[in-house]
Symmetry: C2
Subunit: 372 residues, 2 copies
């Protein structure tokens, strides 16, 4: 089984270095990366314009990743058996490329054909019940037999059970830290088994990056983004798996939840998800039935083309001031901003880029921005 | 809290006797009763025309309940503290009157104001789990506190827990047999406690009627029909509570189900109900939120008026033969039959009544009929 309609590209070494430098520079996240490439035409051009844009946004200077550091990171990856892949390259999960904050470069270790196959995420409590673990095991096994790769977070509990049950059929672990910083450390063995059996591990973090608390929610968007849907097996209220479910929802992925007794606190989160519209799952067929028609639709990837002549939109100082004054701590949509600013979309986008590179702007999902 | 917009009527003794004789006569069920009264103008007139109608339908004779038997049943009811009430009389649950096979006369024992209040049905497994019993107890308590009467079937397990928890706030037991034939017998004490605390018991069966297996599904339609909605707490696949849920659905009542682990066979039925669209319940608020807007809508009662001049529609022999030939063991809608028979609706309805009284016709829900 193959996910349909992904094109296949291959970066030159120079392009890969440029992209790596750009995403590792200050104030450049995946969304800014995409805006910069669209605005400037290429990662190379964006690197050149970065200091100028940041200065206009109000920053005195901006740290740009050095070429030698990018080369060192590539070398470290190579040593770990990790390929740094751009979307469209073989091994970059096709659906992950379609989310609006897809990593510009993704570290993929292991079998690149596995990370190209249709995936279902199975996530849940770290301190799962015996019933939850047993169910996760059976579901992962049945979905694996049906041809799906199981993607999860290598955590204790449900994640572990789901990976373990799909080692043979194919599973992908998504890391919150670098590829040499496995969390929890005792799951190095599980990861080894996954990789030995034609599975894969992916991370957007550089080698050596120790995972911090805030890296886990960020990582969770990769789990949901790469999958057709996310099955939450057990989740207490306000647990991390619910963040993954929320992200899945925002990304247009299917959300599935396994029901449980109202008296079981580990089912409170999953029962709530079902109340909010998640599909109730008692067996693999419930998942397969829902995702089969989705697999048959062509994948729509976001545009990566330049948004017009990069210099046509250079803003006047007065425009820059007007746009900045319209922004505040409350998120506003870029479309509203363009309407209110009474100027061209290109000018507004340029000013937003400048502010972002100066560390003054935050981008949210759904095209919303706010001042920091 | 009162259910809105019920009118209040009172039968004369003679009317009550006529109605009781009619419903206790052969081949007269609740739907036929309603058709007969509509066709003939009154229960009295229907009793008079019964032999003639049955003969035309092909029966040699029809047993009509004798007046002395009806008087004896009324006396037996009185002795048991049971009132035989018609829809519209105080004590006949207003919503129950709105189902299309509502009992023409309902035996009500206990507090008639309680059986007029808004009700929620709580049903489930007889061999319930501890968690299921605990949940039923809490739900019944919370709904009782919110002003709802709990209606259930006095069975072991979930029914018992629901009644027990709502003795103080008000509960109604629906019996499959006569008021003097409590099933299971060991629940006589529970029923006593219910009645002592301003609760009620209802039955459409005459005193002395021993409940048989087939009486329970029939009884279940009264549980769902009298309620705003039915909560199924625990149910294995193909269990009786699922029949109540199906009836609730056909009657336009809300269906609620309590989720459980896919590994718990007692949750298989409730999880399936949720997959089919039932509302997932983890607390009383889930139920209250759903039924509150329904309580605020006026109740629509089916028409009980005569369907025109009773003699205008007397069919010719050729019409009777044509209509009978259009019928078979596969249910067909009366509307389709009227179209196909190429005659007046009154004639078709009269022929159906004749066949029914001759024991040759079965009426299904949704206006469908078939030959037996």
């Amino acid at each position: 089984m193959q996910d349909r309609s992904h094109h296949s590209t291959k970066l030159t070494d120079a392009e890969r270095i440029d992209r790596l430098r750009l995403i590792r520079s200050d104030n450049v996240g995946p969304r800014t990366f995409r805006s910069l490439v669209a605005h400037c035409g290429s990662a190379r051009a964006a690197l050149e314009r970065l200091p100028d844009l940041a200065r206009r946004g109000g920053a005195r200077q901006i740290r740009i990743a050095r070429e030698e550091d990018a080369r060192a990171e590539l070398a470290a990856c190579k040593k770990l058996g990790v390929s740094l892949l751009a979307s469209g390259e073989v091994g970059y999960p096709p659906r992950l490329a379609a989310i609006d904050d897809a990593p510009p470069l993704l570290g993929v270790r292991g079998a690149r054909d596995t990370s190209m196959r249709p995936m279902i995420a199975i996530v849940g409590s770290r301190n799962a019940s015996g019933a939850g673990l047993k169910f996760a095991n059976q579901l992962a096994r049945d979905l694996g037999e049906a041809g799906f790769v199981i993607i999860s977070g290598l955590a204790r509990g449900i994640d572990q059970a789901a990976h373990r049950a799909s080692v043979e059929s194919g599973t992908v672990a998504v890391l919150a830290g670098g590829h040499d910083r496995i969390y929890p450390p005792e799951h190095e063995d599980l990861l080894g088994a996954i990789l030995d059996a034609n599975g894969a591990a992916i991370s957007e973090m550089p080698p050596g990056h120790e995972p911090r608390a805030r890296d886990f929610p960020r990582r969770n968007r990769l789990i949901s983004g790469a999958a057709l849907g996310v099955v939450v097996v057990e989740a207490a209220q306000r647990s991390g798996s619910l963040i993954t479910a929320r992200m899945a929802n925002e990304q247009g992925r299917e959300v599935f939840a396994v029901p449980g007794s109202p008296l079981d606190p580990r089912a409170a989160g999953t029962n709530d998800l079902i109340k909010q519209g998640a599909t109730l799952v008692t067996e693999a067929a419930d998942v397969i039935q829902m995702v089969t028609p989705i697999m048959e639709r062509p994948l729509v990837l976001p545009l990566e083309e330049p948004d017009g002549d990069p210099f046509a939109g250079d803003p006047e100082d007065s425009e820059r001031a007007r746009i900045a004054s319209l922004l505040g701590p409350t998120p506003i949509s870029i479309d509203d901003l363009i309407r209110l600013a009474d100027t061209s979309a290109a000018v507004v986008r340029t000013v937003l880029l400048e502010l972002e590179l100066a560390g003054r702007l935050e981008r949210h999902g759904g095209g919303l921005v706010s001042l920091i």
